[in-house]
Amino acid sequence: MKAEENTAQNVETTTGSHETTATTGAASAQAVLALSLMEDQEHAELERTWSDEPGLWNWLRSVDHKSIGKRYIVTAFIFFLLGGLLALIMRLQLSRPENTLLGPDQYNQIFTMHGTTMMFLFAIPVMEAMGIYLVPLMLGTRNIAFPRLAAFSYWIYLFGGITLYVFFFLNIGPDTGWFSYVPLAGPEFSPGKRVDIWSQLINFTEIAALAASIELIATTFKLRAPGMSVNRIPLFVWAMLVMSFMVIFAMPAVMTSSLFLTLDRLVGTHFFNQAEGGDPLLWQHLFWFFGHPEVYIIFIPALGFVSSIIQTFSRRPNFGYLALVLSMIATGFIGFGLWVHHMFATGLPQLGESFFTAATMMIAIPSGVQIFCWIATLWSGRPQFKTPLLFVLGFFFIFVLGGLSGVMQASVPVNLQVHDTFFVVAHFHYVLIGGAVFPLFGAFYYWFPKMTGRMLGERLGRWNFALLFVGFNLTFFPMHQLGLQGMPRRVYTYLPGTGWGKLNMLATAGGVVMTVGVALFILNALWSRRRGRVAGDNPWGADTLEWATSSPPPSYNFDYLPIVQGREALWARTDDAPVVTGLRTNCRDVLLTKTLDAEPDNTMSLPSPSIWPVGVAFSAAVTFIGSCFTPWALVWGAIPAFISLVGWGWPKPKDDKCDLTPVDEWSEEKRRKEARRAQ
């Protein structure tokens, strides 16, 4: 205990003295000169230390948050395209009554795959991926906390996604919906391995998401640049932080429920068997306890995108920083209290229904606060109509509409009529596509220059926006009416006498338009990546720290970590900006700061590239998939997993130049001496 106190004291004295230096303006012309003289040599060494060497093997070993983030984004986007294609096929099937493009078995697999892909393989991962790429840059640090965990997170997510699609093409695609209600998904009514594959996929993605959340939280708490106290954290990072906490408390519910389901199916437990004391509704409670926060897990990062984009393009700080932060946190909390509104039709006690009605309506309040603050920002700012802002305006239109139809459904009587109809399909596509995908596309346009160094084409961008916006409303607006006319969800066809044909045809046409819109985006991205206008460090004149480094950022992110002087870091920056010096360039050193006020506290050498995260992910994949077929897989998988984990954590060789200071240097005596000297 004493040792720790000593160290703490020591640190305080050191930083204290340095701050004095900084504030009293001891950074003279000489210091500036010295910095620029050192630069070339230091950059070269930093590059050597941080960059990945070429070759496939080193590509697999990479622990750079930017590489991982980009891979994550690209992979998630590919899954988005696959999920979108499945949706298009469904729309084609539904375009006419009694269409025979798909049979019921195919349709059921496809709609399940669509939902599962969009939720578990696209929406959560892409949001986490944006965080993995951007959070360390925005916080002004050199890598994410736990970089090997980040690599592991990506690999296990990739293996999970591939597994699901391989099995889908083998006709073992899950067919019980992305919600897998028991008993339909239980052992009696879903024979074969389809649902087992689904519940194992849940394991893959939840592990990936949980790992990413832990990284983001630790990064946000400990790796912020000096000066970025809690009240200066960018709204984007707040959003990621709230999302990460929600993941941590929501995902275990689906982890547990999918464990129960797996056990029921594979070893014959009775969690959901009502004849032996189980209860099918237990599944629904557990699933929606995850499933509803899940919606906000997807939506809250989008709030971060919107905040960043609005701030930059209305050329003023967001109106109501504190209100926005608090409303995000409030959304995070209330999001856990609504799950039962997915279960009103199960006939719960009236009192419970009332409670959840009230809670559901209450969540409209923080959303309202957010919308009003942003409108106020635009009102008093000078909006510049670049593509990212267009997508955000699209977000307003669509999300507000979807939010309002959500408020209607909070009411039990209305909910009982529209639940599980196309009205609900319309509603949640309005909130999820409007609330998350539109901001995400805006974010792609906004940060593409940072990630690639080139701008996305504006003209194509506007076409992309227009087609997506029109296509979206054409597809989903008629679904409100279909729902009101009584068309239930998850039907592979309908009878001609129902009169649903025309609106369905319209929706399908809209789906085609949307497809063209997305195709334009792909074209734009592919073309701009090579030929787009060169972006420069800060093409939008934005305020957050990721724009303080080159585009794309060097492997070490910042040659000197920035020191933050205001909430809008770059807008507040003075001409001779102070930076952090003294981090070793031959080591992967990062600076840890204090959680609240972000004063420098200690430094730490982050782990180097490693193949072991891939090994652990692979072993886990083998275990998960194998255990669907034989319990022995747990044994086969555990051994390589254990070996890989030990390899992952094993210390660097002793002769590593960068290795840690030996104990004797930190002996109590030496520390006391240093403390004396500092005084």
């Binding site: 205990m1 040792a3 050191t14 930083t15 340095h18 701050e19 230096t21 210091a31 906390a145 736990f146 949980l210 939280i217 630790a218 708490f221 400990k222 790796l223 000096p226 941590i248 408390f249 275990p252 519910a253 547990t256 464990l259 129960f260 056990l263 029921d264 070893v267 014959g268 437990t269 009775h270 969690f271 068997n273 004391g277 189980g278 209860d279 557990l286 306890f289 000197y560 001409d575 001779d576 900006a577 102070p578 952090v580 010096t581 003294g582 981090l583 070793r584 600076l591 840890l592 420098p600 506290d601 200690n602 430094t603 730490m604 050498s605 254990f642 210390p651 030996p662 104990v663 930190w666």
Partner: protein, 201 residues
């Protein structure tokens, strides 16, 4: 953009115990996840109990108390050497840290073995009824953590044994202690629910 040297951090310590370090936050993240998971298992237990007329459902007998209580006692006892280990590690005392780690591992092996017998004390099988399923799952999830934690302790002490005695590895030891405390602490409510609740509630 001109820049000037603002803060020189070369004199800062290269490691820190507890919340000043990075790993500590990661461990807390995992603890939050696993606590939530076990709590959800416990909530499921009560949910199923609420649906049942008799609990445990006949003809299932109540679980025995002997071995589970012994396991709990050993678990609680292991906190003492773990605390001593933590103190030694914070003093960067290699010899004592290794010594107490071995004591902890020995206790760990004892309660892993006891845990093996504890499954028999449940007096029910996982595929008998929903009660059996949920108690087996709770104890199974905890046992998984238990075994992992003992293995992890072995791995961490092997760092020290192989001559890696830099402060970083002492930080690892203290963070591992945090996990160990969690394993012990979380078992107390689980024990209460599995063995005491059906008797006294």
């Amino acid at each position: 953009m001109k820049r000037r040297a603002g803060i020189d951090v070369s004199g800062l310590p290269q490691f820190a115990f507890g919340s000043r370090g990075l790993i500590w936050w990661g461990i807390w993240g995992f603890l939050a996840i696993e606590t939530t998971m076990l709590l959800i298992c416990l909530v499921s237990y009560f949910y199923l109990q609420d649906r049942a007329t008799d609990w445990p459902p006949p003809p299932t007998q109540l679980p025995d108390l002997g071995i589970p209580t012994a396991t709990l006692a050993v678990l609680l006892l292991s906190i003492v050497p773990m605390h001593l280990l933590e103190r030694a590690a914070k003093r960067l005392d290699t010899r004592r840290t290794i010594l107490w780690t071995f004591v902890c591992i020995a206790l760990g092996i004892v309660f892993c073995v006891l845990r093996g017998f504890e499954f028999y004390s449940l007096n029910v099988l996982f595929d008998s009824n929903a009660y059996g399923s949920v108690v087996w799952t709770i104890i199974g999830v905890h046992s998984f953590h238990l075994v992992t934690e003992v293995l992890e302790t072995c791995v961490i002490v092997s760092f020290l044994l192989s001559g890696h005695t830099e402060p970083k590895y002492f930080v690892d030891s203290t963070d591992n202690a945090l996990y160990w405390y969690f394993i012990v602490a979380i078992w107390i409510p689980c024990y209460a629910v599995l063995y005491l609740a059906p008797r006294y509630l």
